[in-house]
Amino acid sequence: MVQEPVVRIQGVSKKIGSKTLIDNLTLDIPPGQVYGFLGPNGSGKTTTIRMMVGLMSITQGDILIQGSSIKSDFERAVSHVGAIVENPEMYKFLTGYQNMVHYARMSPGITRERIMEAVERVGMQHRIHDKVKTYSLGMRQRLGVAQAILHRPKLLVLDEPTNGLDPQGIRELRDYLRILAKEEGTTVFVSSHLLSEMELMCDTVAVIQQGRLIDVKELNHGDAPADGQRETAFDVDHPAQALELIGAGRIEGSSLIVAVDRSAAAAINAKLVMAGISVYGIRVVTRSLEDQFLEMTGGGHIG
């Protein structure tokens, strides 16, 4: 299925003075996906997003949104975009509702009903007529999402959207973003360094480091195959003895780690128990995106 990308980042560079913040970044974002943008602190995620939404000028290259250039056809390009760049700041002396009215006036054809629909979407209907200065960070974040989806944008750009949300809020946002992508065909471009987060909600993840794209990974949301070898940790009272007995694997803390399939794991367990070794737990060691990410970016160097 080949579909016209919603966003085409074409050879984009950003230089400030002699410093290159983004170096020749090229990326196509297909429609209807939750697309992750991953990178360590200072790698250029926010800078890229600012260029995508026209807050920053592009030194070289161009960004097309639904085929319109953000440089030369800003109004049309940005009309497809809803965004939260870093923290969603609202007018504190206005109520949540007045803030929504403010943004509603800036896009064509947004009714009162649509405002309330967006507000209910983020669960803010009970506090919407309070002044924003009485809101908690999480509530402001929710209102931020509401203003971003108000005009039903084709592309939703979120920079670290889970910042300040409680676990419940994070979960709701994650589910909601997936629903948006699936049911309304919205493309969601979300940056984060909460890698486990990305793993849970993204279809594809682009990894950026020091302003350069280093990898694009499609994530498989289906379960890993039940058979096949996986690293399995046996938490035991005498790991050294266990290693000697099994004759394979390695020791990490109080665990023996062996690459086995399911039936072999059961056999090893029986063997250990027979030998009088207490097995406190058995678990599959998953190599999370986080580990892969740290491997790719070579640890936590900033810059």
Partner: protein, 259 residues
Amino acid sequence: MGDFLKLVQNENMKIYRRLRTWIMFAILVLLMMLFGVLFYMGSSSSPIGAWDAVDQLSFLYFLVSIFSVVVAADIVAAEFTWGTIKLLLVRPWTRTKILVSKLLAVLLFTLAMSAVYLLANMAVSFLLFPDIQSGVFPKGSGGPLGYIMEDLLYNYIDLLVITIFAFMVSTVFRTSGLAIGLSMFILFAGNIFTMLFHPTRYAWAKYMLFVNMDLGQYRGGQVGPAGMTLGFSAAVLTGYVLAFLLIAWFVFKKRDVAA
């Protein structure tokens, strides 16, 4: 066009939904009343007419200038300090249109403040003082109302120049404090500069903003220092205002927003 007016409506909402704005209006009206009563008590021996009172109370117009400067100094800078500029600019409106809507809202505010000033002044004067023949105003030529309105027009032009200056500084430096400070400096230290660099002594001095701000000096066809005329000063002021607006527009359009 109708849509553009919605931008102005937004800016108005952000001005008039703030308590600060209503405090400004309240201060203006209360001080007008206070000084009206003070003049009334002071004039018990030699009563003055209502039109004379209007003229005497007109010194309070400097409050309108100050409040206009405060609003203009804040309207762009505040969006940056609040961080709301990010959401404001990610909308299908060019930066030029956003800036123009803000400028229009400021101009509407200066008009509203001036109207309230005039109404309060007239109301206080005519409630407290008798409507008798004025001893101060020359007879004929438009009468006292004409004189008052002409005076107000000159003061309003003065206010516009300084307000647009504040608007520019606010846009360029994104801090309202600096914009207010510099504007107040021009407003109050202008006379000192005019004295130091008087156009009769320095040929270039007649192009300074300060010496041209008071258009009232040409009233009745008078000629200013070094042969300056109303037309000359009007042209110089227009030049300055256009320059301020161009600078503000250019900087606002080009700026990388990383608030």
